[in-house]
């Protein structure tokens, strides 16, 4: 940049810009050395074997040496039959399960070692978002945001719910009156409230009506464009193709195929899926 501005009229302006840049770079560098991960979500030889009495006569591990990475801005969709190890993967990233071998890293932190710290980056959206039925959507959001250490004003909370797609009449209603899709939206607002860098979604669109599922996909794309790394399990091949950047197919605890979503059509993907599983 020095060449470009040499001899320019506003030297003081240039200097100011230069200093500002340098400051920015140095903070970025500091942040980089401090915690900036190369990848948001990373599994390295991640293996989980349930104790024999829980999975009788099944010596096969539920998850076998899974290695995958999800970069910021990526949506990684995991496909596979029930019992292929998709949910186990999510639970390992959340630290709800202890890995038998290997590592799950979130933001560069080993989840098993830093169960609390690693969750700062994470937001989790289960198949059915369950909230406290006696509280309103807004109160639920406020509670979960504060749990993660974020205090928002009432206005901000309303804005978050609206951004997540919840119509404003419903904000103050008790969650016991909410539909599944509405609870899902509160779940997204919770993720928005903590400014999550990584999202773990466990079959989030199953049971949603097409319109709600479509809205949900739109929101995911926005989050992804804002730089979130998203790992999502699903049974919906077409939706996976539509919103995923990469698609992994799992079978019996192994990641057997990883594909770029934009290189194939939904029908091709389905054919591959059916061959694989």
């Amino acid at each position: 940049m020095g060449e470009k501005f040499k001899g320019g009229r506003c030297e003081s302006h240039q200097l100011r810009q230069k200093l500002q840049r340098r400051a920015e770079v140095s903070t970025q560098l500091a942040w980089f050395t401090y915690k900036r991960p190369t990848t948001m979500l990373q599994a390295i030889d991640l293996t989980k074997r349930y104790t024999p009495e829980r999975r009788t006569a099944n010596a096969e591990p539920a998850l076998d040496k899974l290695t995958l990475t999800v970069q910021p801005g990526e949506i990684f969709c995991l496909l596979g039959q029930n019992g292929a190890g998709k949910t186990t993967t999510i639970n390992l990233f959340l630290g709800f399960l202890k890995p038998t071998a290997g590592q799950a890293l979130v933001g560069g932190l080993n989840v098993a070692e830093y169960p609390q710290e690693s969750k700062k980056f994470l937001a989790y959206l289960p198949e059915t978002v369950m909230l406290y039925p006696n509280l309103s959507g807004l109160e639920n959001l406020d509670f979960f945001a504060q749990l993660a250490g974020f205090r928002h004003s009432a206005d901000q909370l309303h804005t978050l719910l609206t951004r997540a797609g919840l119509q404003s009449e419903a904000h103050m209603g008790r969650v016991s009156t909410y539909s599944k899709g509405m609870r899902q939206k509160v779940g997204i607002a919770i993720a928005l409230a903590k400014q999550a860098k990584a999202l773990l979604l466990d079959e989030p669109t199953s049971g949603l009506d097409p319109k709600a599922a479509n809205e949900f996909s739109d929101i995911l794309r926005t989050l992804s464009a804002d730089g979130a790394a998203i790992l999502m399990t699903t049974h919906d091949i077409f939706r996976a193709k539509e919103i995923g950047t990469r698609i992994g197919i799992m079978r019996e605890g192994k990641l057997v195929e990883t594909l770029a979503a934009d290189e194939l059509t939904a029908n091709e993907l389905e054919a591959i899926y059916l061959q694989t599983v």
């Binding site: 709800f96 700062k120 006696n134 749990l147 993660a148």
Partner: protein, 477 residues
Amino acid sequence: MIRRLIAQNEFTQTRRDRRFVVAGGVVLLLLLVATWTGFRNYQSLADKRAQANQTARAAWLGQPEKNPHSAAHYGTFAFRPKSDLSFLDFGLDTYTGVSVYLEGHRQNDAKFSAAEDATVLIRFGEMTVAFVLQLLIPLLIIFLCFSTFTREREENTLKLVLSQGVSVADLYWGKVRGMSQLVALVVGPALLLAGGLLFAQTGFSATADTLLRLGLFVLIYALYFFLFIAGSVFVSARSESSRSSLLTLLSIWIVACVVLPKATANLGESLFSVPSNYAFKRLIHEDEEKGIDGHNPSNARAKELEKKVLAQYGVDSVSQLPVNFDGIVMQEGEKYTSMVYQKHFRALQEQFQRQNSLATVVGFVNPYLAVRNLSMGLSGSDYAHFLDFKGKAEQYRFGLVERLNNQMKTFSKTGDWEKKVSREFWAKTPDFAYQLPSVGWALRQHALSGLALLLFGGVLLWGIGRSLSNSTLLPAA
């Protein structure tokens, strides 16, 4: 901060639950009714006994001129005053005697317990504040707490909570705190009523001792509830389902609050049996007649005394004595029978104490028993306070009879049974004024129960902390 947030959430949620409103309301109502009726009961009893004491004194003062020893046979009554806090915990007051007949030659047992006047229904327990606090509030706590964790697990909110980066310890203690606030919401108003009534009763000038007793009373129950809450929330955290959590907690309640106390009482009774009333009186009579060691019969003792007194005054026969020998004989007899009574009563009381101490020992594993003891002790309605009253009444009786005997000895000659003391003499004998022992004394009586409660609490909390430190709260699969 996080704990406060979780506590607040728990508090808000439960308060909006209609089941809590109903259950909490019922318990609060019971507590208020128990406080009010307990207080009315206490007030009328306290008044009646104060009146009875005055009447007894008036009867004593109104005696005509008579021989002092006749007055000793006439006797008087000591009525046990109610302690200020006894309306919170009736303790043994209903079953222990209310008054002691004080007369020469013998120690009488305290008679006329309130239970004697009541119907058989009293056997099923009274609705007292202590009953609600010791048994019903723990039940309410169980219903509040049994599902704090299991419901969140069953409804899957727990995963969402934990995914927000909350530590297990914060979640647990936050919940314990929230539940404590809810229990305080139920117990608080009744406590305020009790305090208000107490102050109104004493004309807003309660003694420091009463205040201290009330303060400790509150503290003991606060600790009791806290342990119940911590334990219940922990069971919920460790249970697979709400059903099993409730079942576990109810079983614990039944064992701790019903089975174990009954079993302890029955075991105590059969281990440390007491003689029947008839056998007890016969033993005393025998000791009086034959001497405490069986080798010193009463007529031999009398001869010896005569020899001693004659030698003391340097005379040859009783009629030459300058004092009334009958007075001396009766006072010596009084001393001897007192000794006999004391020996037998002490043995009996020790046996009762042994029965009670079994409950104290079991209190190390059952906080209900420890709290029951401490609560009675602080309310002044336990066995120790009863014994203290009996002891002081006996002391007064002995002093009174001694005074009468000495009067007899000095103011008349031997054999002169006709000489009477004037009516002013009755007024010179002091009145019986019972003073409740201090709170420090009460605590010393129950130091072991206090230690038991603290030790149990310490071990429980330590165990919970240890168990939580390596738990994810989620099922393994």
